[in-house]
Symmetry: C2
Subunit: 864 residues, 2 copies
Amino acid sequence: MEENGTKCPPSEAGNGSLVFAVNGEKFELATLDPSTTLLQFFRYHTRFKSVKLGCGEGGCGACVVMLSKYNPELDQVEDFSVSSCLTLLCSVNGCSITTSEGLGNSKDGFHPIHQRFAGFHASQCGYCTPGMCMSFFSALAKAEKTNRPEPPPGFSKLTVSEAEKAIAGNLCRCTGYRPIADACKSFAADVDLEDLGLNSFWRKGEPKEVKLSRLPLYTPDGRFSRFPEFLKGRSKSPKSLHLENSSWYTPTTLEELRSLLNSNLIENDKLRLVVGNTGMGYYKELDNYDRYIDLRYLSELQTIRRNHHGIEIGAAVTISKVIACLKDADTLNYSTDGKQVFEKLANHMEKIASGFIRNSASIGGNLVMAQRKSFPSDIATILLAVGSIVSITTGHKHESITLEEFLTRPPMDSRSVLLSVQIPHLEPKGNGNNSGSNSKLVFETYRAAPRPLGNALPYLNAAFLADVSHQVSGVLVNNIQLVFGAYGTKHATRARKVEEYLSGRMLSASVLYEAVKLVKVDVMPAVGTSHAAYRTSLAIGFLFQFLSPFLRVGSVACGGLSNGLTGDLLKDSLENHRDTSLCQWEYSKLLLSAKQELKSSKEYHPVGEPITKSGAAIQASGEAVYVDDIPSPPNCLHGAFIYSTKPLARVKGVDLESNNQLSGVAALISYKDIPEQGENVGSKAMFGSEPLFADDLTRCAGQQIAFVVANTQKFADIAANSALVKYDTANLDPPILTIEEAVERSSFFQVPPFLYPKQVGDFSKGMAEADHKILSAEIKLPSQYYFYMETQTALAVPDEDNCMVVYSSIQCPELTHSVIATCLGVPEHNIRVITRRVGGGFGGKAIKAMPVSINNIKIKFFSH
Amino acid sequence: MEENGTKCPPSEAGNGSLVFAVNGEKFELATLDPSTTLLQFFRYHTRFKSVKLGCGEGGCGACVVMLSKYNPELDQVEDFSVSSCLTLLCSVNGCSITTSEGLGNSKDGFHPIHQRFAGFHASQCGYCTPGMCMSFFSALAKAEKTNRPEPPPGFSKLTVSEAEKAIAGNLCRCTGYRPIADACKSFAADVDLEDLGLNSFWRKGEPKEVKLSRLPLYTPDGRFSRFPEFLKGRSKSPKSLHLENSSWYTPTTLEELRSLLNSNLIENDKLRLVVGNTGMGYYKELDNYDRYIDLRYLSELQTIRRNHHGIEIGAAVTISKVIACLKDADTLNYSTDGKQVFEKLANHMEKIASGFIRNSASIGGNLVMAQRKSFPSDIATILLAVGSIVSITTGHKHESITLEEFLTRPPMDSRSVLLSVQIPHLEPKGNGNNSGSNSKLVFETYRAAPRPLGNALPYLNAAFLADVSHQVSGVLVNNIQLVFGAYGTKHATRARKVEEYLSGRMLSASVLYEAVKLVKVDVMPAVGTSHAAYRTSLAIGFLFQFLSPFLRVGSVACGGLSNGLTGDLLKDSLENHRDTSLCQWEYSKLLLSAKQELKSSKEYHPVGEPITKSGAAIQASGEAVYVDDIPSPPNCLHGAFIYSTKPLARVKGVDLESNNQLSGVAALISYKDIPEQGENVGSKAMFGSEPLFADDLTRCAGQQIAFVVANTQKFADIAANSALVKYDTANLDPPILTIEEAVERSSFFQVPPFLYPKQVGDFSKGMAEADHKILSAEIKLPSQYYFYMETQTALAVPDEDNCMVVYSSIQCPELTHSVIATCLGVPEHNIRVITRRVGGGFGGKAIKAMPVSINNIKIKFFSH
């Protein structure tokens, strides 16, 4: 008798147990593994399968839900989106969670968000759609709580700009986003309906009133702001979480925290301090922790204090709240320069991760990751530039040190806790002689990343703070702090040589040129960092962008503006600094404008009509069943591949790490387990078949070597990730890694004759007659990977008489069927492959999904 | 998050946990509900679904498995069949269990039993087949352990007679048993293969060697007598069962037992003393017990002592062992008469229940049920006739009383325990004057029941013991004990008036006539007993049968024999008593001989050929999947109907008993829950449709009133059985219960025109010309019920977009499909009904299975 997943039987006592609501329904758990995430809970223990597993690291948004917290003092409910793959279940104690099924569904009626997503063709494979809906709904809920004027009937208080940003961080691979943005924008009070794309509601050119009447009606009925009453009392004492047989501590005083950290109990166990747990998105949890200490109930870590010296922010405050606080800074009597610094810090922080991550990630967590693990933090970079101070407690020792010292120290030990960070209120000081009156503070932050918004780590980030004075001869740098980070460095660092060189100098082209040369020395990516030259050139570019407006000489070309810094125009030059933000991405209008003109012919009616995709609404509500949404049968086993890390090596053996965590491992399957009458075949396609497993020799990196089977997916993943494969490359030729090597060693794949190139026309004649000749050419095609939202997955259910039903997310079930039968050596009629819908494939669910299907069968044969 | 069924997580400690083996595989449970049966364990928690639920009361044999116990002192393994529906899981601690899958299967190869069942066409619907195989295999295993001479190759030590008896108690509704008996007999050393019926192995008339070579080879490889080594050590201390959160006590001394019985702990709880738990087959467990005391480890209750005074048998000794002991009595120096008494007691006991019940039921349990609950016991009757004594302990009080006194006392209290029963060694005593030398003991037992063997309670049983002497004038009754039981009486009783009348009398026709008249007074079924006159006449017949051989006058007609009791032929008359057993069923040859001659025509070849039914072997091994074998999805709810007990009444309400046991109840569904767009329709057939639920008025007894839904089937059943329906019949006409009443009140069903009777020929002319006239005639057709082995069952699995997949054991899925859609008010394409095989139907799975399918859907809609 096996147990699947986390046991969560309801407790009768209710005292100290974990209580929360999902879509208004009460859940109460007396015992659970504290490493269980909200996503795991939804997927393994509830019927709310709208919460999808995509990346599992907060990077795709497929698992986004809305979390609501009740503040009993203010009698207020706070609603925000979170990524449930990173949210630990214990941390939702007393909270209410809304999933897409909770917004509406096929039984109770769909929510207009679902209906509009369907009508705007915003759901294709549909796997990202429920998460999109929840990100957008959270934004809608937030907007509706503002004091903005009442929108026209049928619209919300949300703006088009907010609608666009609401889904930043939610990835979609099918639609190209425009239909999704259109569906979201249709709710915005300031939308021009005519701008929205093809949909099944109206035809281009119909009057606005008609269009509006055709849209599924939106009325903010407040249904989801009603926090369940049964949780309200509970919210008063959220700390009282005492689970059976597990350890989730919620200290409320520093003394409690210290005694926990000092206890011998903890010394011997694997301990994790958590706030939002979002760090797990970047640093994979390959092992279980024994004990968790939730820092969110320590008032010291949650408090924000503002005074004339600056803002002190508790380490557990979420980045979203930090942003709100920094933007709100102008309510205090801060200097203009100081307020601008706070605002720019906030603007920069809005580019970090995504909304649903910033809603749970803490500022302290970010800085501690930067300190302990060299996380490429933006926050460390920008806060370092403004001279922030951090407070740390270690046992009974309490100290305040500069962020710079903090970052350069050896990694904090496990008993040290970051308490708060103080961001100073800055004012111009000038140099010693010329104290402040004529000087100005200039502050800018920079960031270059693959995407402007939405979960993209930077290639380089930077923040520059300069105290400058206008002199007759130009601009004098009284003081300057130049911080660069994330470029392949242990932590954000001040470019001291450049700072020293610039301080006290009048800016000129030659000074700037010298500074740039120094930057090349100071900003030097560590050996092995990707795009090293690009990163250094970015650093130069950013510095140039920062300093060039101060140059007297010539004009500053930026965004088509031409401004000279002459005479007393320093003030203008500082204004320009704000204008230069135009050079960067313009965030207020995220999407470029475009027009789609589709002429539909009546000839093949209704072909060409914008008819709503069948099932689009249930895809949006999350009721559409993907393979992994099929409830696991009792005693279901789960598997994970162990892939080769060597391109060519003998596999001498695979060792699973033996520890308690792996007690759930049931078997390790390799090519030796292929049935006698079967074949080691994992896929078949036009280029022939590929083996299911490497035999004694692995022939490429990434080849499947073995398959770990365990009673939960978590155990299977942990076991596969921690498995040790013993390789031996003695007496083997080096692997062939390039086309050139393959040609040199005459190693070619067989190309099927139908793919032989055929000459079309007379190539030599054509080239001879051409106006432009190709004198020399080389084309290199880099590797490419399939990127689908739904992971590879298959479920095999044994049936009588050695038959097997395989639910597979696959694009070619017919080949899979045959491959499975061949591999197992059973007649093809014993195998039934069922594919209903695929959560994105792009070719990757064609051939590469076959081994997954086969191995799931093998599990079932094993478990049966 | 709900928990299905009994939680049985494996314990790491292993100490005190329940350990046993199934088909060689180790199972270890640290915690379980002690009321869990072996059947529930197999069906809810393992993949061994060959163990079927048929009657759930030990009456059908569908759940029979082989239990093996190891005796460490003798290093011997005892194998025997048990009914797993009555066997409590806690009682198999240290045992090894073999199911039909364990004998063989489609992966490891089938057992020759499976193959021969298939080839002899012994599996039709297949639901009884695994149980049949296990009953037969247990008999085979037992025979192979005897010291009989080695059988010819391919055969076993089993005899044809044993083969036939092996499956007594296993019901089959399809085959008529002959093919099953043929398959079993094919293993018997003394079989004549030519006698076996149509099969797919050979043709009639082929030489014996050819036939034998065609049979799947049987070799006693001893695979199943290998008791798992890991259990052997454990068998030494089977008492050490300490389950978490539950109470199963295994006292080993009377002192321990007494202190358990005296503890306050127990006073407040529901306590159950158990040995084999087979009483549950007759007395349904409508509630859970809190505590169980297993009496099997008390040596006082397990010991058999034999001396010249008789045999003392511990109360916990199984009936099978009592039979073996009584048959083995001739090894002691008992008198001929005494030995015959023991042998006849044993012969009678072999007719009780069935082999797999006698293997676990205890003699003490049987007597206690007779004492406490007026169970119609055969054992009480026959032991009463021979003057047995019982020993009882109550607290520290220990007493020995006659069985007669025991039976007539008020029901034993819960602290009293029956320890043993002493069956005296009887010898003729004559009367006072003529002490013994010329007298003889005559003992006979009688039983009339619907079936001669296999789980049929008697209409009447009787046992007569007479001490008679030969006199010149005839036969003198010195002393006589006449016991009748089970005829509608509280307990077996001596017919004192008849005994007194007969004692000291010479037997004559007039004496016998007087005795018979007295029997009519003494054997008077209680008011309300069915077949009262038949029972009394049986009593008379049995007495006549017993006494008539002693009559001087005339001849005794019996089995065609004509014998006079003249002169010193008393001895012969006593011999005749043995011959009279011919009047009863002849048990040594259970089946009558018959010949099947089937001529197959080649014209439609292969039609008419005895081809093995597809799937017969997996039906035998139990791998064939019936609806209830489909593993329940996670969080599956289970339901049970509440039926009307009134033919015509207003239903004012349904109350579920509120107690802790019912914490698993999720909902009570009635006609009020029919969806608004649906209809209250439960079935459709040629006579129109019937409602799913009674509305405010129930229109026949047995009509569905409501459906209880709970998280386990057990909770649903308990809740449905204990539900209180409030009826009101005020101002209602009396119900119509007979055709006559219906005619009188002109209440007719509409008969569809196509069923109107059509006159064929000239009825009046035919009657006028007939040789024999029908002067008056009346035909009454009593009610009839469908008897199928597989219970009504359906599994509904919700699918996306309000669709539902219903796995139903139904004979007409097409109508069911339409009824479900109509009832729920959804389009027919939303419903998919899947029927793969039906475990017997006989019409009962046509219409009557529909409401079951519908309600299972309603559960799912509820739970989804």
